[in-house]
Subunit: 355 residues, 2 copies
């Protein structure tokens, strides 16, 4: 890219220092990408300094949660900066938008957004393995109007956060038998705000009991495993991989799909199926299920050490387990450019000269 | 009240003219009430000019829909301005907030907000019967942080809209058999943004088919009636009133509860029970169910003229029906001060001298 850099953007970038302690999603990059849509017509996108949004108090997003988002990462590699399967996120965001009657962000605009932010923030991407620039594209309905109907105006942003890996440790997971994050016929397979709002109460409750994450059951049958609040679920039984089949209430994770491909390539037998929670607990107890883990963009793979619910606590004998470790390394090696990208997953970002 | 008026507020009020055409929730009053909460500690509230909010792009409300709201009305009466059962809205908003791990707005602060806005906007309240000042208290999580957890900071607002009655006409209602607005164990009985986002797709679909509103079924059994997207449901069978019993996925409407009290007082037999949708359709077909209506703050009572779904269209023989008409008049007469307030529902607002 050879563009003239907006002086305000250049000043924001110059004035920014990456703090020592990053955490996940709390340090925000000093620039963001922005585009708007009015009555179905999209503006061009622009890179602007990171700054507060100005929203009418009656904006639809604030009352009726008309918002959807994505989570993805830009990795620093020897060759520069690369994105991991960004077109998957563009497609999922289009799907999420449609579920809430929002206009899809055109794929070229989405790509322009995530690439531009990554290129300008290249120097902010931490270099340690597992660290990256977390990108958060999001779309909100902004029309000021209190009737329950879709907004006529929208704003699309890509913000970014230099981040450590999320939840690297072994997780204690609580089986949520009461609350639900999304209904059958609801929004569970879309990445929309309401699903996360609905999950906060469960998370707060289990944290008090010393757990880290909720394991959500299917809201229709209340008996099969769906996923975690921000990650998909995998179990290892007799050396084979099992993960819940997509059923309309599970978010289709890009990491989940990539791990399924990697695992098959590495010779694992993989099963996408309904996993009954009581069967699972029994198999953990008997040792047949030796290993379980969660996966998602933020955490890549997080081993699960304990599964608990009102009926008891069951320890996974292998945590972190060998399958999780092996798959995590294989995926991270591709993402960070240490092994060959046999699936063609990595999309390099053209660099800009910031001097 | 005898307060000194902030010059900016006074200027906003002076510069405002109530437009001829009001609609519902699209004309916003020129002032709003505002308070903030940081780590559980509330600020005092203040009346400020209506103006855009400044929100960090990473604010929790924009990503995780941490928002809840209320809908209530200030009525112009001979004696001045009155609110209808505002404490019910204060309690419901506290319940909604808790479901999403938000701090409840203290009841005195909530009351201060709705009363102050009503008092300062007294001159903007349209005077025709059925018109009023619609009040929209809302609470949003504002902490800039991308982890899925409750915000540490919140903003509470009361905005207002001089409005006509919503949906005064006869409604064509579509039985939604596919989508769900909220899960069992979800947020259906809380007034939170995600429920409304989830309902937009159904509304858009049925509008194309010439209908006005969705009738939501219980997300657990998919067979009993819950409510409409912003109103509760009533049917009249053999002269008796039937409405779905509260079950965790229905919002407990203030209008619903008030109508139940009024109807009992007027000698109607009322049933709060599970209403199977197929039974209901059969009773409409046979004429046993002669009348059905929806109720809520915005619309008060809206008669239903047609119930339709994939299996056919059923006309309600009486629309607008005599029971709906009688209850609507009885309630509106109390709200607009024409009949005695036997239940003690109306709360007068102390006026301010704006000169
Ligand atoms: C509910 C939910 N499930 C699963 C995932 C994992 O998806 P991905 O691998 O695309 O990050 C996420 C998002 O990160 C999520 O929010
Ligand atoms: C989903 C839903 N049901 C019912 C109602 C009716 O409640 P109320 O009578 O308190 O306005 C509302 C709100 O107005 C609503 O949003």
């Amino acid at each position: 890219m050879s563009v003239s850099i907006d002086p305000a953007v250049a000043a924001s970038l110059r004035g920014f220092e990456v703090p020592e302690k990053l955490g996940f999603g709390s340090v925000m990059a000093p620039v963001m990408f922005r585009a708007t849509c009015q009555d179905g017509v999209w503006s061009g996108g622009e890179l602007v300094p990171y700054a507060p949004l100005s929203l009418d108090p009656a904006a639809k997003v604030l009352h009726y949660a008309q918002s959807c988002f994505e989570g993805m990462k830009a990795y620093r590699t020897a060759g520069g900066v690369s994105l991991f399967r960004p077109e998957r996120n563009a497609h999922r965001m289009a799907y999420s938008a449609e579920r809430l009657c929002m206009p899809a962000v055109p794929e070229p605009l989405f790509m322009d957004g995530v690439k531009t932010v990554s290129a300008y923030c290249a120097n902010l991407i931490p270099a340690n393995s597992g660290e990256s620039l977390y990108l958060r594209p999001f779309l909100i309905g902004t029309q000021p109007d209190l009737s329950v109907s879709a907004s006529t105006s929208y704003e699309f942003y890509v913000i970014a956060s230099p981040s450590e890996a999320y939840h690297a440790g072994n997780m204690r997971v609580w089986v949520e038998r009461d609350d639900a994050r999304a209904a059958v016929g609801g929004t569970g397979d879309a990445k929309v705000g309401g699903n996360y709002a609905a999950s906060l109460q469960s998370i707060a409750r289990l944290k008090k009991r010393g757990f880290d994450q909720s394991l959500w059951l299917n809201p229709g049958n209340r008996h099969t495993v769906d996923e975690l609040s921000g990650m998909n679920f995998f179990a290892v039984m007799d050396g084979e991989l099992h993960t819940p089949a997509l059923n309309g209430s599970i978010l289709e994770g890009v990491t989940r799909e990539s791990l399924l491909m990697l695992a098959r390539e590495q010779g694992y037998t993989v099963h996408e199926r309904d996993i009954d929670i009581d069967d699972l607990m029994a198999l953990v107890r008997s040792g047949t299920c030796s290993e379980a883990f969660a996966c998602g963009t933020a955490a890549i793979i997080s081993p699960i050490s304990v599964l608990g619910d009102g009926n008891g606590l069951y320890e996974l004998s292998a945590a972190p387990g060998p399958v999780a470790e092996r798959l995590r390394s294989a995926l991270l090696d591709i993402q960070e450019g240490r092994s060959e990208d046999a699936f063609g997953w990595m999309v390099p970002v053209d660099m800009v000269n910031l001097d």
